[in-house]
Every structure is written in structure tokens, then in C-alpha cells.
Symmetry: C2
Subunit: 433 residues, 2 copies
């Protein structure tokens, strides 16, 4: 028996040759003379064709044992056929059952509730739809690395366990030897700023945590953030970097993951429209716009999800809202010299109501103003001594932003809920599997 | 005044033109007529030349304010000159001081103790040596992503907050809403196995945690791991993937980071020798070898750091030690059919005494044997129900490994202590900055 093993994605290269595929069975059907098993191995889908008169009685009988998710090694000649599931067929000569799959396999070809699916996430991931999502997520992640690598950024891995913190509420904490309490990082930014002074252009790529009791479709307790920080970039430079970055990621998916996006039913025209420049809207104009559309939001308030939806409905590309009031934003954002009630910052709102995908700002580089803001927020300055140091010795203009990976993936995939775009989502009521 | 801003790495492209560089001062010297300031901006190093007769008295006086780590904007014409620090000079026409740097800047050009340097890690990162280390680390990280991307692996981000655990001791824990206690992941492997059944070939890239009171030069409480997992790979396939992977990373650094490696004084010949295949040594032969060299280690013991050093001293490439006794290794490793006292696993030992850089294994795919091992280890099978499910429904041969990023970077850089190869190291007595 031939044992040239091949993964399904490689089968077209073996056309006409006998190979052995190891895979899982996702579907079977049989007439009296011919039987079919659809196979998946994570790299693709193929159809195995059993001709009764050719495979012999033993293999024909064994075919009947193929239940959903049985794992098999199937040997046969490769035929490329556009009509077959996956576009490729195996003319079976041998069938080995590797792992049986009892008929109570949890995920059956019927509708299941999302809680049930999340309880069985280890199996749910095997569905074609999930495979498409994770191929796109993986493509986006590689695109992010390529974007920064090609532009001379150094990647810097900032700590998860921290004493200094970027925000005050919603912290997970753990005992840390004799050092007291450590908090799980909500952001790597403060460390990124120190690294930007050392290396010029840096980015982080890691998990961040929020111990918040929110149950919306846009919140997870553990999610991934990408946080570039660039020495000598001002807020305008920062927004240009953001739009170049987002347009690069979307184009990459359009070019290399069209098949998967189409599998998810994504409207490709909407993605193809995402080119620079993006529209820029001052916070004050944004408030006027949403008020005009009936919102009660007043100058000084942060913009909520409903306001964001009202703003983006007029645009088919992401929209920057710039220079929010100081009190709506974090302490480290630089005061706007043209209007000291506001800070030099931006939120980048995704189109189609996907909400904020990026928050960015120029950082306060004035020692006294920063110290004042830290105190004003009721934070302990001694926890920020090293952060203040960056302003004490050779302070520098610098800016950066944070891209929420899951929100970006959800938008590009066109999915309403971010819980589906991370392999094992963590929410306030979900820590398993 | 011209304001074509350029980063130092870009200066050669502006030869003969006036540009403005924003950077930090690392060194100054002056004669009565000419003065020099060495600048760094994270992308490179350049020398600014002040000719008294040309810059005028105001700039000449301002030069005297340039202390270590003063931030400046310096305008001048670019001259490429191999003799200058960084190989490029600016013939200064204008000097703006952006941020003064008081003379008590902590890191002075003298010897400092490592604890002091770690306390001032935010400044220590600015030294040329640290810049070289992090350029190499960043290159290694990109090489890792490129290696897997080019081979059709999907990247999967496994959870940090977990209920199921891979090992029992040394866990950080945090309260998790009404779900009880969450543990910080020591490995993503168990989740990686579920993803491999779904996507075929996957890898993880994330932080992992050990709450261990170890103070060796090879331990951190928070470090980064890369964990590929491949459906249908057996232990031999797994080792081939490991050696291809490691050789790829080293070659990439040799090709693209020679300058930084030479700055660190790395012996390039030792890296250029790292080609496949690597030597493979059975555990039993490894024990015989170290006994012959005077070790007290007996069959059944795990190999300690001293044994590892004895093993690698005969080789100038990484060495695989294969098939350890069951009791020395984790519960999820597959029993060796040729010798059931042992498991199908490997440790890949770095040359030059850098110790274990990879631990890998074929995973136990037999439901009953795995359940038995879970019970034998005193673990709670109910925490592993989803993991056992992978063996219950369509079990599959699969293998994977974990590469410790910091150990790999330390080896490639030729540095004795891994605390220097992560931006903000976390050790049992260090949580700051």
C-alpha cells in the first residue's frame, strides 16, 4: 500500500498519483454501488469516492463505520474535479479507521445555541465557518507583523504582570511573592513609550485584560492588542500611520483571503472601498452631528456606541474623531495647545457600526502637566516614577495607538460578535474550555 | 530653517541635503573651534559637527547645554563618512533643545551593577548594546512568524486565563467573577491540540507564566513561548520540524543582523555552523554519556543543567535527547510502544551550555492511557474533559513543541542571562519598572 502522505491542500500537486490522506469525516452518502465520504484535515476539504466493485467487500463494509468526525487514513488516486466538495477527489483503494467517533458527537448538522457551541468550542472550531474566520485572523496577524517589520519598527514585548497601571478599574490581580500584588496589564503603552525613546519606532502585540462585568457583543475579558509607539510622531503623523495600517490590513485580506471572506458571505465591495485617506472629524463637530440626528450627547461627554453608529452611517470608510475633552480620556494624553479643554487624540471608528477599533493619542510630554493629571486622577505618582522620568530627562514628542485585534477581525469578517473571532473566548461567565 | 525631518537610519538617502534630525545626545566633545555631538534616535547613530565660525555664537553657546540624553532637533547637511560614529555626519546649521536632561541622569558612562540597571530599565534600554539585543529579538520574532506563515500554519492565540492547567505547581491565580479561580497559563499546548484537530497545522506565540522561586540565569516568571502543534506528525516528524525551524531562525539572524551580532561580540562562526540535521541521542545513551563523564545521574532521573552541559560539549550544533522515562515528563506525552517505560519526546539542547531551548513530544492519543496518566498525576479528570474529548471522537496522531523565546534569543546573542533579552524582565524579586 502506498504511503505517500499528503495534506488535502497539497492534493492538486499529486494529480493522477496514489496518496494517503489522514483526515476527519464530515459527511457520508452511499448508493448501492458508489459511496462518498467528505474529508477535512484543516488544510482543506476533499471527497473520497468508494466504488463497490473496485474497493472490495472489506473496505465497502468498513465504510459503514464512518460516523461524523471519525478519523481515517484513506489511500487513493487524486483526481481534480471542480464539481467535487473541495474541488478534489480520491478514488479510494484503501481505508483505515484510525479513531472511531461515537454517534453522540456533540455538534451535529443542525442548529445549536451559541452557549452550547461555546461549551463545545474545541469541536466547534472544526466547522468550515470557524476555519475561515481563523484563516482570516491569522492573515491579519501576519499582515500586522509584516507592516511594522517592513517599516523598521522593532517589536517589543511589554510585561503582562505589572505594578504600574494604565487605568484604575477592572483589574485582575495576583499575589506576587514578596512584592505584593501584581496586576494583569490593560495596556502595554506606558512601557511602549519607554521603548520608543530607546528604539524610535516600536510596536507591541499581546494579550490585555479587563475585569469588567460587561456582556456586550464587543467585550471580552481577555483580548489582543497591537500598540505602536513612535518617537517624534505628533497626532497628525499618528493618524496617518493608523490609516495606512488599517488600509494595508484590509487590502491584504482582500488579496489573500477572498475565498474565506466569501465563504463568510462578506460583501467584498465594502472592503475594497477601504483606501486612504480616512475622513477626520473634530470631536465638537461629531457632537453637533449626532445632536442633529437626535442624540442627547453634550459637549464634554464621551461618545457611546449609539453615537458612534450615527457618525459612521454617513461614511463607507473608517472615520477619525479627534481631540476629545480631557475629562473623557486618559491622563497620559497631551493637552491640545489650540484648545486646552481637549487633548490631542483620536478614536478610529470602523464602518458598518463596528465601533471603535483604534484609540490613539499624542502623549503628554510636559513633566508638570503629566504629574498634575496623575494627581488629578487620584493615581499614586510613585507608581509612575519611571514613566515620569521619560519627561524629566530629554522629553520628546511621541504618539501611539492601540488596535483591538478582535474588533478588527470581526469587522473584516463581517461578524456581529467578537466572541467568535478568538479561539477560546473569555467573558465574565466563561472560563472554559 | 529647513524641516525635512529624517530618522538617522534614513540619512544616507539624503546625502548632500539639509535635514532635521530629532534625537538624543549620547556624547559631546569640543575644541575651541569645532564641537561634536553624537546622536541616537533608536534607528541609528550619527555625529553632528558644529563649526564655530559657521554656526554663529548663539548655537555655539547652546551646544554647551547638551548633557547626556538631552533631546534635540538638529538641522544640517548630510555627509556620509565611514570614519564618523554611525558612518554619517550632519554639518550643523541649527540646534534646538527640545528636552533638557539634568546632570543626575542615572546611567552614566561607567560600570553599574545589574540591579541598578534593572531598576533603571527604562533608561538602560537606550544603550547601544540593548538596542542590538532587541533588534535581534525582533528579527527572531519576525522569522518565527515567517517560517510558519510560509508553511501554511495558522496562528492561534490560546487563552492566558484558564481553568484547565498543564502543570500543577508554580501557578499564578486570580479571582474570576463567579467562576472561581483562574490560572495564568503555563502553556497553550492543550488548546493548541484542539486547534490542530481543527486547522491541521497551528502555532501559538504568547506569554506564559511560572510562579517559581527560582533565581537562576535561565528563569523568568513571565516569558514568551512559541508552541506549534501538527495533526498527523509523529515524534520523528516533530524533530525534523524543530531542526528546520531553529536552523531557519539562526540563518535569518546571520543574514540580516550580522551588524548587531558583531556589536555584541558574538562568534559568528558558531552560528554559521547551525545547519540541519542536528544530532539525536536516546535518553539512555545520554545517561551513559554523562555517567562516563562523572555524573551521578541514574536512568529514570530527569537531566539537570549540569548533565545538559556535559552532553552538548561534544557538539557544535543543538542536540536532541529523545524518549525520556515517563516519570520525568508530563502526563500528556505518548507512551513509547518500543519501550513503555519511556515516552515519545525530545528536549533540544542549545550548544555552548545554553540548555534546553525546546521541549517537544508526540501526544498521548489513547483515551484510556491518557485518563490513567491524568489520575496517576493526581489531576482532576473533570478539568480535562474537553481535552479527553479529543481522544474520544476521532483521535489522531499529533505532536508539537514549545520553544522558549528568551532562551533562544540569549543563545543566539551569546548572552549568559536571559533577564537582558526581555524588555522588562519579571523575576521573583522584580515587578518594576
Amino acid at each position: 500500500m502506498s504511503h505517500t502522505y499528503a495534506r488535502i491542500a497539497e492534493l492538486p500537486a499529486h494529480e493522477g498519483q496514489p496518496v494517503t490522506v489522514r483526515a476527519w469525516v464530515t459527511h457520508v452518502r452511499s448508493s448501492g454501488k458508489v459511496a462518498f465520504a467528505v474529508l477535512r484535515d484543516g488544510t482543506g476539504v476533499a471527497q473520497a469516492v468508494f466504488v463497490r466493485a473496485e474497493v472490495g467487500p472489506e473496505v465497502w463494509e468498513r465504510f459503514k463505520e464512518l460516523t461524523l468526525e471519525t478519523s481515517v487514513a484513506i489511500t487513493g488516486a487524486v483526481r481534480v474535479d471542480a464539481r467535487a466538495p473541495g474541488g478534489v477527489e480520491l478514488g479510494v483503494t484503501a481505508l483505515e479507521i484510525i479513531g472511531a467517533s461515537p454517534i453522540d458527537y456533540p455538534i451535529q448538522p443542525k442548529e445549536h445555541g451559541v452557549d452550547f457551541l461555546l461549551d463545545n468550542r474545541h469541536f466547534w472550531l472544526r466547522s468550515p465557518r470557524q476555519r475561515a474566520i481563523f484563516a482570516i485572523r491569522s492573515e491579519i496577524e501576519q499582515a500586522i507583523h509584516d507592516f511594522f517589520y517592513d517599516r523598521g519598527f522593532l517589536r517589543v514585548d511589554t510585561p503582562i504582570l505589572t505594578a504600574a497601571i494604565g487605568e484604575r478599574s477592572g483589574l485582575f490581580s495576583t499575589a506576587y511573592f514578596d512584592e505584593g500584588t501584581a496586576y494583569l496589564a490593560q495596556t502595554g503603552q506606558l512601557y511602549g513609550e519607554a521603548a520608543a525613546a530607546a528604539f524610535g519606532k516600536i510596536y507591541t502585540f499581546g494579550p490585555t485584560f479587563r475585569a469588567e462585568k460587561s456582556k456586550t457583543r464587543r467585550h471580552l475579558t481577555e483580548f489582543w492588542m497591537i500598540e505602536p509607539e513612535v518617537a517624534w510622531n505628533d497626532s497628525a503623523d499618528n493618524m496617518r500611520l493608523q490609516e495606512d495600517f488599517v488600509a494595508f490590513i484590509v487590502l491584504r485580506c482582500v488579496e489573500r483571503r477572498r475565498k474565506e471572506l466569501e465563504e463568510l458571505g462578506r460583501d467584498m465591495a465594502k472592503l475594497e472601498r477601504i483606501t486612504t485617506p480616512f475622513h477626520r472629524l473634530d470631536y465638537g463637530d461629531a457632537v453637533a452631528l449626532v445632536q442633529q440626528k437626535g442624540s442627547d450627547t453634550k459637549w464634554g461627554d464621551d461618545l457611546g456606541a449609539e453615537d458612534e453608529a450615527l457618525i459612521v452611517e454617513d461614511y463607507d470608510k473608517p472615520v477619525f474623531v479627534m481631540n476629545y475633552p480631557k475629562e473623557a480620556k486618559a491622563f497620559y494624553m497631551k493637552e491640545n495647545p489650540d484648545d486646552p479643554r481637549t487633548v490631542l487624540c483620536d478614536d478610529l471608528l470602523a464602518p458598518e457600526g463596528y465601533g471603535e477599533m483604534i484609540g490613539g493619542s499624542q502623549r503628554e510630554d510636559d513633566y508638570d502637566k503629566l504629574l498634575h493629571r496623575i494627581r488629578e486622577e487620584g493615581l499614586d505618582p510613585s507608581a509612575y516614577d519611571w514613566y515620569l522620568d521619560l519627561r524629566k530627562y530629554g522629553t520628546f514628542v511621541h504618539s501611539g495607538f492601540g488596535l483591538g485585534l478582535e474588533r478588527t477581525v470581526a469587522w473584516i469578517c463581517g461578524l456581529p460578535h467578537i466572541r467568535e473571532v478568538i479561539a477560546f473566548p473569555r467573558m465574565m461567565n466563561r472560563l472554559r474550555p
